[in-house]
């Protein structure tokens, strides 16, 4: 049962990817469509940020992650390297959890 579900999920996940790649390729590219497509990543990325910063088991919570992500945000805004953002946000979050 679990194996079947894994294969269906994998097939479905791949179909999304390949359909996107094929449909996107065939579509006539106008300036409007490109302008719109360029807005998808920021909308999705910020949605993921919001979800992974504030969501826990289907509800909204304020916990150590907020401070960690905010720290990472400041470092990212200063255009520091990617790994600094990741390491310091994790570090701040872990420290707050230990001593908070």
């Amino acid at each position: 049962m679990i194996w079947s579900a894994i294969f269906v999920l994998s097939l479905g996940a791949y179909l999304f990817k390949i359909v996107g790649a094929m449909v996107g390729a065939r579509r006539e590219k106008s300036k409007e469509i490109e302008a719109f497509l360029l807005l998808l990543p920021p909308a999705l990325l910020s949605s993921l940020i919001a979800l992974q910063t504030f969501e826990l088991n289907g509800t909204l919570v304020l916990d150590a992650r907020v401070v960690g992500v905010a720290t990472g945000g400041v470092i990212a805004y200063c255009r520091r390297p990617f790994y600094e953002v990741v390491v310091f946000s994790a570090l701040v979050t872990a420290i707050i959890r230990q001593f908070g």
Partner: protein, 221 residues
């Protein structure tokens, strides 16, 4: 070493640590080592995998786990459409590249200044993440409960913080900022009232609002 390769490896390593946790969680949810590894090699989209094993472990049933996983996987189709110029033109190459279309490869690719760099960033990030994610999963599933929870290491915050770093280069104009802000807002509003996986999909509509604002601003000026 080129900056693109270096960033890809750092990102891959960070994702690999998450792969470790995924392996541990998958094992804790009753998946075998082979099943956990198969998920990372075949499904290869982290949020879907976490949702799938999370719901299995919480006794949510296979159907709910599957649907949530699929809902979370849908955004990869949008990603693939948005970076289609970066993907190879040949059918085989495109079919292969499609498997590597995920949050990280899309974000790194779109953050580059020209098409050539975007292509390199896509492949470097996609392959690095694929490798480390799968290796991490294997190790995590084998080690079982030695790793502990990702929360102890603050890794659950490292992920969204990494996305912030990837978001910053996108905020080039007013429309992009509106798209980002409304995407996050819609997701936050949807979290308490929608099933897992739906809020982040609704957040995509932030792009529509951003586009509308961009057109309006252009018309006004």
């Amino acid at each position: 070493m080129g900056q693109i390769i270096r960033n890809s490896i750092f990102l891959g390593l960070a994702v690999g640590i998450f792969g470790l946790t995924f392996g541990v969680l998958a094992a804790a949810s009753g998946l075998t080592v082979a099943q956990a590894l198969a998920m990372s090699l075949l499904t290869f989209t982290g949020a879907s995998q976490f949702a799938f094993v999370g719901l299995l472990g919480a006794g949510g049933g296979v159907t709910a786990a599957l649907l949530s996983g699929l809902l979370l996987a849908a955004r990869n189709g949008l990603y693939a459409a948005s970076i289609v110029n970066v993907l190879p033109n040949g059918l085989f190459g495109r079919a292969l590249a499609a498997q590597l279309v995920i949050d990280e490869s899309t974000a790194m690719s779109t953050a580059q200044k020209n098409l050539d760099a975007s292509k390199r960033a896509f492949w470097a990030t996609g392959l690095a993440v694929y490798l480390f994610w799968s290796l991490g999963t294997l190790l995590g599933a084998l080690c079982g409960d030695l790793i502990g929870s990702p929360e102890i290491w603050g890794l659950d915050a490292a992920f969204p913080a990494g996305f912030v770093a990837l978001l910053v280069p996108h905020l080039r104009n007013h429309a992009a900022s509106v798209a980002a802000l409304s995407g996050a807002t819609i997701t936050i509003i949807a979290v308490p009232i929608m099933p897992i996986g739906v809020p982040v999909l609704l957040g995509v509509s932030g792009a529509v609002l951003g586009y509308w604002r961009g057109q309006k601003r252009r018309a006004d000026s």
